[in-house]
């Protein structure tokens, strides 16, 4: 179906604007329209996986650019994740000015779909900046200042300034890329033959890399993130932490690996070092946070550091694992933030020192939280584990054995901080002065269910995601020594995990 991909990008944005234009008072209708758009987007994406690209020539000077959208092997499942998360965020949404809220969420959905489905670098960069705006507005309009004397809105500014700085670098790098290469219509194009010389290449790559590292974020660019995640309303942070934070990692995979392989290899020691620091720093910091949302924020720093390392290992299985982990992390962090939001709505606090004993009266809420926390701590059998296993295997295979060994430490720490989070809220004696509210409602259950179902299914069999990604990763990183390079004799190449994903099933 031609036009479908473009519709997935522009449709939500247009509906968002229509909602904005509606008269006041249409709140409930607006929300359900938003839910319907998200659900429809999920259905259309899942129903048409082989949709051809939409491409229209756009600029000819100073460099070629096309209005080019399409599904990619890496982006497909991320977009599905994004649409599902948006559905989950909207379906149980309760807020003031619901109409405007929903409109912003739809603009966010469209803008982020644009980032992941853009096949043109310029388009990618434009949507990259566009997706900052709704988040900023949502934070200013509906933000929940976490405990402490900080003024509301400080975090929103920090978010905007950090990310605009990144976005500016991205835009400049894109322009330079276009001028040097002559065209920006290159993402996912195997015939692009991009060769960018050393002097230019280093600077252009630095521009991309800065934007990606800030977005992810990694140490030391991360301080906007706990503040933002703390202050954003939970349904928004579910989408931002779940998917927006993956835009940088996605960029490294689809832009970095094919076009800047040389520069990436040169930067590997530095980036891997930052990844390791993020991995450990995030994990230990999460252990000592008393704001529930900040625990998850720092855990994200830790998890995304691992994915970054995986991408820079240039290893096919590690990259397949990275994509599995990107989707897994999106699912469980969205679920975690949503459930923490329900807790905060009910108890009007998210301080682990205040909360406690909620498991008594809220068994369903406790069940939802424990599932999400278990996925986050990498429980074998859930999606996070599958991603970690593939990543660590790839790292070890690619000669990053010491890194793989270090990466085991945060797994143990994750068990400690995730249980501290869960038990701090749900277990222990009842806290007398906490209000008793109703348990998870069916509609909140409906919001969390697709995410939980997602990380269970992906944990049992990540092949649909891993297979596509492994295939793409092979194309991106070139031929590699198969995993079983030591054991002889090998019967055929197809036995190795480092060979075509066609043989996955």
């Amino acid at each position: 179906m031609t036009g479908l991909v473009t519709a997935l990008v522009l449709g939500p944005i247009l509906v968002g604007f229509v909602l904005y234009a509606l008269p006041k008072g249409a709140d409930a209708g607006a929300k359900w329209a938003g839910v319907a758009v998200a659900a429809l987007a999920v259905a259309l994406t899942l129903g048409n996986p082989h949709t051809p690209d939409d491409s229209v020539p756009w600029l000819a000077r100073p460099f070629g650019a096309a209005f080019h959208f399409g599904f990619g092997a890496i982006s497909y499942w991320i977009v599905v994740l994004l649409q599902v998360a948006t559905f989950s965020a909207l379906v149980a949404l309760r807020a003031t000015r619901l109409r405007e809220y929903t409109a912003q969420m739809l603009v966010l959905l469209g803008a982020m779909t644009g980032v992941f489905l853009a096949k043109d670098l310029l388009l990618f960069a434009l949507f990259w900046d566009l997706m900052l705006v709704p988040v900023f507005l949502l934070m200013v309009g509906w933000g929940l200042p976490g405990g402490g004397p900080r003024r509301a809105g400080t975090a929103a500014w920090r978010y905007l300034i950090y990310n605009l700085a990144g976005g500016l670098c991205l835009l400049l790098a894109t322009a330079a890329f276009g001028i040097v290469h002559g065209s920006t219509d290159v993402i996912g194009n195997p015939d692009a033959h991009v060769v960018i010389g050393n002097v230019w290449g280093a600077w252009i790559f630095a521009g991309f890399a800065f934007a990606f590292l800030v977005k992810t974020p990694v140490f030391p660019f991360h301080t906007w993130m706990p503040a933002t995640y703390g202050e954003l309303p939970p349904p928004v942070v579910a989408v931002v932490s779940g998917i927006q934070s993956k835009a940088g990692l996605y960029g490294f995979i689809v832009i970095g690996l094919p076009f800047f392989a040389e520069q990436m290899r040169a930067a590997t020691p530095l980036v891997v070092a930052l990844g390791i620091i993020s991995l450990l720093y995030g994990a230990f910091t999460a252990l000592a946070q008393s704001d529930a949302k900040r625990v998850v924020a720092y855990s994200s720093l830790s998890h995304l550091g691992l994915i970054l390392i995986a991408i820079f290992s240039f290893d096919q299985v590690a990259i397949a694992g990275a994509v599995v982990y990107i989707v897994a992390h999106g699912l469980f962090s969205a679920a975690l933030f949503l459930v923490l939001g329900y807790v905060e709505e009910r108890e009007e606090t998210r301080s682990l020192q205040r909360l406690g004993g909620l498991g008594y009266g809220n068994p369903r809420l406790a069940g939802a939280l424990v599932f999400a926390a278990l996925a986050a701590l990498g429980l074998p059998g859930l999606a996070g584990f599958a991603g970690e296993l593939l990543i660590l295997t790839g790292l070890y295979h690619a000669g990053f054995g010491a890194v793989a060994l270090i990466a085991l430490v945060p797994i143990v720490v994750a068990a400690a901080y995730m249980l501290r989070l869960f038990q701090g809220i749900m277990n222990g004696p009842k806290v007398a002065d906490l209000p008793e509210r109703r348990d998870l409602t069916w509609i909140e259950g409906l919001a969390v269910a697709p995410l939980v179902l997602g990380f269970i299914l992906l944990g049992i069999d990540p092949a649909p995601v891993a297979g596509l990604a492994s295939d793409a990763a092979r194309a991106l990183t070139g031929p590699q020594t198969p995993v079983s390079h030591r054991a002889q004799p090998r019967r055929s190449e197809t036995e190795s995990a480092y060979v075509a994903a066609d043989s996955v099933r």
């Binding site: 434009l126 507005l137 059998g381 296993l389 295997t393 249980l419 030591r486 019967r491 043989s503």
Partner: protein, 672 residues
């Protein structure tokens, strides 16, 4: 890599039934628990019982042998090439499956009585069923990743059940501790898996064992075995990762019987037995594991002397007995180790369930100092515990005698006289503290009405696991129903124990007949022949057995003299008080392991986290960024305009602008 097949491939519908029935039970009971109410227990028990019957019916699938392959193999999904999953039901898996579902069924039935009246009755059975499913995943997997998944899930089930009474802070802390230490073990296995996949290219047992010799250097093989053993040590409570097991007694007693005695904690024994080809090939790994096992055996036994909580005495005895098993499989006496798993599963479950009857009848009293003279009050519990004690001490004729003897003689056969000596001494200590338990609990006068301080108990109201919770529950139940709830009949708790008694006595008889015993014949196709390093034992088996018996008799005699004589029983209050007061601090503090772990790992980790979160982030990084930002005046302008509300407008314009831009080019582009 040459692909090495495993078992006889085919479709085995019953195998899936065995595996998935308990999962179905967990899902149903968890979802519909509140509706099922008191039906939850029988439903959970029936599903596990059906799985047990299905396993019995599938006996021939597991024992079939053709062309050197044994057992049933059912392939399932594949993640990526090399990551193929399936079920393997061979003789080793059969033994574990029968114990998990069989003993598991009995403990489910027992729990119907023990947990009756608990607020979350159905949820308890959901967790028990989930545990059975997880444990079956572990033992039925045909590959290392499936094993690791089962390994992690049993840890989770254990977490849920230790923390079942989650309003008690001590139970919550114990659950978390158990889980974190078990994740440490998971991580060890994870690392082994990573190395295995990289070197061999497959996670399947057949491929790994078939290619181990070419794929690994001896150093790598040792690393793999060591990493696997980290998992075993965490799960099976081996020194120094044992500290969670005594704390795990915070869980309801049936949980202690099923998970923390009969099944889960023996997973390490299973893993080493499963990986017998790797252990056989690595002498260093055998040496290390044998030593750790022996160390755990004696360390646990010594701590058993110093306990007053009936469940903690049994917990340390579990740790010690698993030390025996690990020592056995470590040195290469695989079938002896597995036999001890089998006998231990019966007699230890029986000991725990017997203790549970006492605890239940004494309104959750667990301190043996406040028991005494229970022989007349609870004759059935006495007989059950007596049989269990005789079995664990290795009295000839009882099951433990055969398996412990096989292990001790096995250490000699495989050339480890020092481990043998440690094992023999441990047997003596075991006899001493188990008879101490017996005398203090069942003989003399009942001391439940004696003032706690007269017995030397310092915190009489610190409570015993479950007590406060249950009292709270019962108070609440009374509020709801007006009067006390109806307790399940007493037989529902005694019947499972009665079934266990003959097995605790007789299951060891399988090993009668030495090399030609049914047990040895059963496992002959599974375990490789003894490694080449095996020496001829320096003394005959009979002499070895006599030495053990003499030491055990000495242990019993000592316990009798201290606790069992008329004089001792008459002055029991004063004597117990004196013993409590004089208990060496090193034993009271459990060799300071907990304090050391706390000081070396837990506290520094939290301190680092606080330092990062409250100094590095806000002061170092943000401070640096702010320095840069403050020098830029435009930032100040932005802030001012934000406060006037203008910026929100700008941002909106930006959205509009970008959108118009995009739409414009789309239309223009489409027009071309």
């Amino acid at each position: 890599m040459t692909h090495t097949p495993l078992g006889i491939e085919g479709s085995y519908p019953l195998l899936y039934l065995i595996w998935l029935l308990p999962l179905a039970g967990a899902v149903i009971l968890w979802t519909f628990g509140p509706q099922l109410r008191s039906l939850g227990g029988p439903v959970g028990a029936a599903l596990v019982g059906t799985a047990f019957v299905a396993a019995l019916v599938s006996w021939n699938d597991a024992t079939q042998i053709s062309d050197k392959l044994g057992g049933a193999h059912a392939p399932m999904v594949s993640w990526l090439p090399g990551f193929a999953f399936g079920l393997l039901f061979d003789r080793l898996a059969l033994v574990w499956t029968l114990i998990i579902t069989g003993v598991g069924f009995l403990i489910h039935v027992y729990s119907i009585g023990y947990m009756s009246g608990d607020r979350a009755f159905a949820r308890f059975f959901a967790f028990l069923n989930f545990f059975v499913f997880a444990m079956l995943t572990l033992v039925l997997s045909d590959n290392f990743v499936g094993l690791l998944i089962g390994w992690g899930l049993v840890g989770l089930a254990s977490y849920f059940l230790i923390g079942f009474w989650f309003e008690r802070p001590s139970a919550v802390a114990a659950a978390r501790k158990a889980f974190v230490i078990n994740v440490l073990g998971d991580v060890g296995i994870l690392f082994a898996v990573i190395v295995i996949v990289t070197k061999v290219g497959s996670i399947g047992y057949g491929d790994v064992f078939g290619n181990a010799a070419q794929a690994f250097t001896s150093g790598e093989l040792f690393v793999v075995c060591l990493a696997l053993f980290v998992g075993c040590a965490a799960k099976s409570a081996q020194v120094p990762l044992h500290t969670w097991l005594p704390d795990a007694m915070e869980g309801p007693t049936p949980v202690s019987a099923l998970i923390h005695a009969a099944t889960m904690v023996t997973a390490g024994v299973y893993l080493i037995a499963r990986c017998a080809p790797l252990w056989t090939a690595s002498a260093e790994a055998r040496e290390l594991v044998g030593v750790i096992g022996a160390l755990t055996a004696i360390a646990g036994a010594v701590l058993g002397i110093a306990q007053w909580d009936i469940k903690r005495i049994l917990a340390y005895s579990t740790m010690s007995q698993i030390g025996y098993m690990i020592m056995a499989v470590g040195v290469g006496a695989f079938s002896a180790g597995v036999l001890h798993f089998l006998t231990h599963a019966f007699f230890k479950a029986e000991l725990f369930l017997g203790a549970g009857i006492i605890i239940h009848n004494l309104a959750d009293e667990q301190d043996v100092r406040r028991m005494g003279g229970l022989r007349k009050q609870m004759p059935f519990a006495f007989i059950a515990m007596l049989v269990g004690v005789l079995a664990i001490c290795g009295i000839p004729g009882f099951s433990g005698y055969f398996s412990k003897d096989a292990i001790l003689y096995g250490t000699l056969q495989h050339g480890h006289p020092i481990l043998y000596a440690v094992g023999v001494i441990t047997a003596g200590i075991t006899a001493y503290y188990m008879f101490r338990l017996l005398f203090v609990t069942f003989f003399g006068q009942f001391r439940g009405n004696v003032d706690a301080s007269d017995l030397g108990i310092r915190h009489p109201d610190s409570g015993t696991p479950g007590q406060a919770a249950r009292l709270a529950h019962e108070a609440e139940e009374r509020e709801h129903h007006g009067s006390g709830h109806a307790h399940a009949p007493a037989w529902i708790m005694s019947a499972p124990v009665a079934v266990l008694i003959p097995f605790s006595i007789g299951i060891g008889w399988l090993a009668i007949g030495g090399e030609n015993s049914p047990w040895q014949t059963f496992f002959a196709p599974v375990f490789p022949a003894a490694p080449a390093t095996a020496d001829v034992a320096p003394i005959p088996e009979l002499l070895s057995g006599v030495i053990v018996l003499v030491v055990v008799a000495a242990g019993i005699a000592l316990a009798y003299l201290r606790y069992g004589t008329k004089a001792a029983l008459g002055a029991s209050v004063a004597r117990l008080r004196a013993e409590t007061m004089k208990m060496p601090p090193v034993l009271v503090n459990r060799y300071y392991f907990d304090a050391a772990i706390d000081a070396l790992f837990v506290k520094p980790a939290a301190a680092a986290g606080r330092f990062f979160g409250s100094f590095v982030d806000p002061v170092v990084i943000d401070g640096g960024v702010r320095e840069v930002a403050h020098s830029a005046t435009w930032l100040g302008h932005l802030f001012r305009s934000f406060q006037t509300g203008l910026v929100r407008g700008y941002a909106l314009y930006l959205v509009f602008g970008v959108a118009c831009f995009v739409v414009y080019y789309a239309v223009i582009g489409a027009g071309k």
